[in-house]
């Protein structure tokens, strides 16, 4: 019975790449599947060419090719990432970290009360902060992509999600709306209802905590999470 050679396997990796599967974790699973299918065809008809057998196997994935597989994987790993953010953020609601959360909220509250600047200025500062965050994120993602392309390193979908802060782009935009909703019609924070101001301070600190989790805590534990997600991560290095 004919078996696929190492060259064939490499060709299959290139094939998946050409069909928009960038990540090694998905590629390797699809390559094994295609390889099994082709070897099975050779058992029945040893004369069929590698290319023809590959096309037959690929057709079995349906009109969208590997798209469904990629999309579903992105969705489920995206969910896993959101859960991780919440898990780490919730740690700030337990002792001793909760003390930090409370004291930072109180500090923000009094700081906002002290400043008699218009709320509009603060909104502007927040918007600028977020824009700089996205610019920084985009630049670092672009650099990382370039580095991986040049170094021929394997790409892992979950690593990409962590590096790009998952749904970070969507998540990060919510707070701006939040502040716009809460802040209108008030000239300064000092004259604002203390409860509303308290909520604003707490939300602001909470968002900062989430950003800290996304930028520092999770990336620090990346290797652990990758090994946990991908049993093959250690196998192929």
């Amino acid at each position: 019975m004919s078996k696929l050679t190492q060259e064939h396997i490499e060709e299959l990796f290139v094939f998946t790449q050409k069909h928009y599967v960038e990540w090694y974790d998905l590629q390797s699973e699809l390559v094994d599947h295609l390889a099994n299918g082709i070897e099975h065809q050779w058992e029945v008809d040893p004369d069929i060419s590698f290319e023809k057998a590959l096309q037959i196997e690929f057709k079995k994935f349906g009109v969208f090719g590997f798209m469904d597989v990629v999309e579903e994987r992105q969705k489920s790993l995206g969910k896993k990432y959101s859960k991780l953010i919440w898990k780490h953020t919730l740690e700030f609601f337990k002792l001793p970290k909760i003390l930090l959360l409370i004291s930072l909220s109180i500090a923000t509250f009094y700081l906002l009360r002290l400043i008699s600047v218009s709320a509009d200025y603060l909104s502007a500062v927040i918007v600028i902060l977020f824009i700089s965050y996205f610019v920084k994120l985009s630049v670092s993602c672009f650099r990382e992509r370039k580095r991986i392309k040049e170094s021929d390193e394997k790409k892992w979908l979950f690593k990409d999600i962590i590096m790009q802060h998952g749904a970070g782009f969507g998540l990060g935009l919510i707070p701006i709306h939040f502040f716009n909703m809460l802040i209108p019609n008030t000239n300064s924070f000092a004259s604002m209802n203390p409860w509303v101001l308290g909520c604003i301070s707490f939300l602001f600190v909470l968002i900062c905590v989430m950003l800290y989790v996304m930028q520092v805590v999770i990336p620090k534990k990346m290797e652990v999470y990758l090994e946990e997600t991908y049993p093959e991560y250690k196998l192929v290095g």
Partner: protein
């Protein structure tokens, strides 16, 4: 898979049941096993199989092991303890469904 809504809805149950019986399997093996069991009438679409496997994995029902087989890496799926319980539930649901369908299709008329 045969282009039938009924079959498509049962894909997860089929996967869970096979893994319950066989212990661990890889994607291609699952497609072949289904073909073999149904005498070739049921053909699982690969484009649906892997999304289902990944969904079950992220729900915590399946765990994955990787092994180097010949010149490639193979991923084996197996049930987690949580998945084993879920498999039992799914089978029960399917049985109930089949009984209900049976009752509707062939109502027992008593006089």
């Amino acid at each position: 898979m045969s282009n039938n809504q009924l079959y498509r809805g049962s894909l997860t149950t089929i996967i869970m049941r096979l893994l319950e019986q066989k212990g661990r399997m890889y994607g291609y093996e699952i497609t072949q096993k289904v073909k073999e069991l149904t005498g070739g009438t049921m053909d699982i679409k690969e484009g649906a199989l892997y999304p289902s496997l990944h969904k079950l994995q992220s729900a915590g029902h399946l765990k994955v092991e990787a092994e180097k087989v010949e010149n490639r890496v193979r991923k084996y799926y197996s049930l987690t303890p949580q998945g084993e319980k879920e498999a039992v539930n799914m089978m029960q649901e399917l049985k109930d469904y089949m009984e209900n369908m049976q009752a509707i299709i062939n109502p027992k008329l008593s006089f």
